[in-house]
C-alpha cells in the first residue's frame, strides 16, 4: 500500500499499510523508540483502506482490514485513523496469535515477577498498569498478556497504552508531554490518548516474568480484597482469553498451571491511589 510501517511489539512483528499518510505518521511518533528490523517477516498484517478510491478524499473513512477481519465493522473517520490502526493491531493478535495463550489483561513486573490484572473495559486494568509503570514497576502491557504454554512465563506485549476519559488527565499529570500521542475526542470509546511506554519497558520487552499475583480489579466501590479460588479464577480467565479454545489441550494445561501457581484476588477500589495501595499490599504478602 501507499504508506507503510513495520513495528515489533514483544514477540509480534506487525506490518501496517494505509491509504493515508496520517495514521502511519501517528504510529511513527508513538513507536519511534521501538527496535526496528526490516528483514524480519511480519506475523500480523493490518490494512487501513478506503472502501472506494474517492473515499480517500471525500468524507475519508478508514476501514480496518488485514489477515483477519470483522465483517460489517463500521469504519472510523480519518481523524481517528490512529485508533483504527491500534484496533486493527489488537484484532490481528486476538484472532490470529497461537504461539502463546492470550489473556485480556494488563501486566507489570518487578524483579522478574509479574502482576497480571484481568478485567473488561472499565475495570481500570489499563490505568492501573500505566500508573504502576510510572513507578518502580516495568510495564509489560495494558491490553494483552501472553502466557508461554511451555514455561508458564508471562511475556510482555507493551503497545502504546490506550488511556480513556478521566485516565488521560490522571496519567498526563505524571509524564512528559513528549510521551503522549494526539488526543482523539469523541471516539466510540470516549476520549482516547495514547501513552508511550517508558524506555525501560521497551528495552526489556523480551524479558519474561514469572506470574506471581493475579488480580481481577473492579473500579468503583469501597476498597475491598476478596481471595479467589482456583476454580473461579480458571473460569474467569477462560472468558478473558481470546485463544483458549483454539489452543486445545495446551491451553487447558497452561491455564490450569497458571491458576494453581498464582494466587488470585478480586479487588474493588474507589480511586487509583487506593487501587495502587491495595496492589502493593497484596504484592508484599505474596512475593515474599
Amino acid at each position: 500500500m501507499r504508506h507503510n510501517i513495520r513495528i515489533a511489539v514483544g514477540p509480534v512483528q506487525f506490518r501496517i499499510g494505509s491509504d493515508w499518510a496520517e495514521p502511519i505518521s501517528a504510529l511513527e511518533q508513538l513507536y519511534a523508540g521501538y527496535p526496528q528490523d526490516d528483514a524480519r517477516p511480519a506475523d500480523a498484517t493490518v490494512r487501513l483502506f478506503a472502501a472506494r478510491p474517492w473515499r480517500r478524499w471525500v468524507r475519508p473513512s478508514v476501514h480496518i482490514g488485514g489477515d483477519f477481519v470483522v465483517p460489517d465493522a463500521l469504519p472510523l473517520p480519518l481523524s481517528m485513523g490512529l485508533l483504527a490502526a491500534e484496533m486493527g493491531m489488537n484484532l490481528q493478535v486476538a484472532l490470529g496469535w497461537r504461539r502463546h495463550m492470550l489473556l485480556h489483561a494488563s501486566a507489570v513486573a518487578r524483579d522478574d515477577r509479574a502482576l497480571i490484572m484481568s478485567g473488561e473495559s472499565g475495570s481500570g486494568k489499563s490505568t492501573l498498569a500505566a500508573l504502576l509503570g510510572e513507578g518502580d514497576w516495568r510495564l509489560m502491557g495494558d491490553e494483552f498478556t501472553l502466557i508461554d504454554p511451555a514455561s508458564g512465563d508471562a511475556l510482555a506485549f507493551p503497545r502504546a497504552v490506550s488511556l480513556k476519559n478521566e485516565a488521560i488527565a490522571a496519567v498526563a499529570a505524571q509524564v512528559d508531554a513528549a510521551r503522549l500521542g494526539p488526543l482523539m475526542a469523541g471516539t466510540p470509546k470516549g476520549d482516547i490518548r495514547h501513552l508511550i511506554p517508558r524506555a525501560d519497558a521497551i528495552a526489556d520487552m523480551h524479558e519474561p516474568a514469572r506470574p506471581t499475583l493475579l488480580l481481577f480489579p473492579r473500579f468503583g466501590g469501597a476498597a475491598a480484597i476478596e481471595p479467589m479460588g482456583e476454580g473461579e479464577a480458571f473460569v474467569r480467565l477462560t472468558e478473558a482469553s481470546t485463544n483458549y479454545v483454539a489452543l486445545g489441550e495446551a491451553g487447558f494445561a497452561a491455564l490450569t498451571r497458571l491458576v494453581r501457581e498464582t494466587p488470585a484476588f478480586g479487588v474493588s477500589y474507589p480511586d487509583s491511589a487506593t487501587g495502587i495501595a491495595l496492589v502493593e499490599q497484596l504484592w508484599a504478602e505474596v512475593a515474599k
Binding site: G229, E230, E232, G248, V259
Partner: protein
Amino acid sequence: MPDPAFRAAPPDALRIEPLGELTAIFDRRSMQTHLVVSPMPEILAAMGADDWDAATLAKRLAESFDFDGVDDVRTILAERLSELAAMGLVAHA
C-alpha cells in the same frame, strides 16, 4: 423398566484436573473443557472401565461415602449419569 447402563470414557480420553471446589475436565475427543463439582468427579473415578447402572453404582459408592440421611441415592445418581452423558463424559453402554 431396567436401569440404563453407562460406561465412562476410555482411559486417555479425559484429562481431569481438580481446582479447589471445581474440577476441570478436558475431553481430548471433542476438545471441550467441562467444569464440574462433586459428585461428578467421584462418580467418574468409581466407574473405571466397567458398565454401571444407577442401582449398582449407588451400592459401590456407599462403600466409600456416607449416604446416611440421603433418600433415594439411586434416583440422584441416575440424574447425574444422564447429565454426564449429555456432556459426553459417559456413554450409554
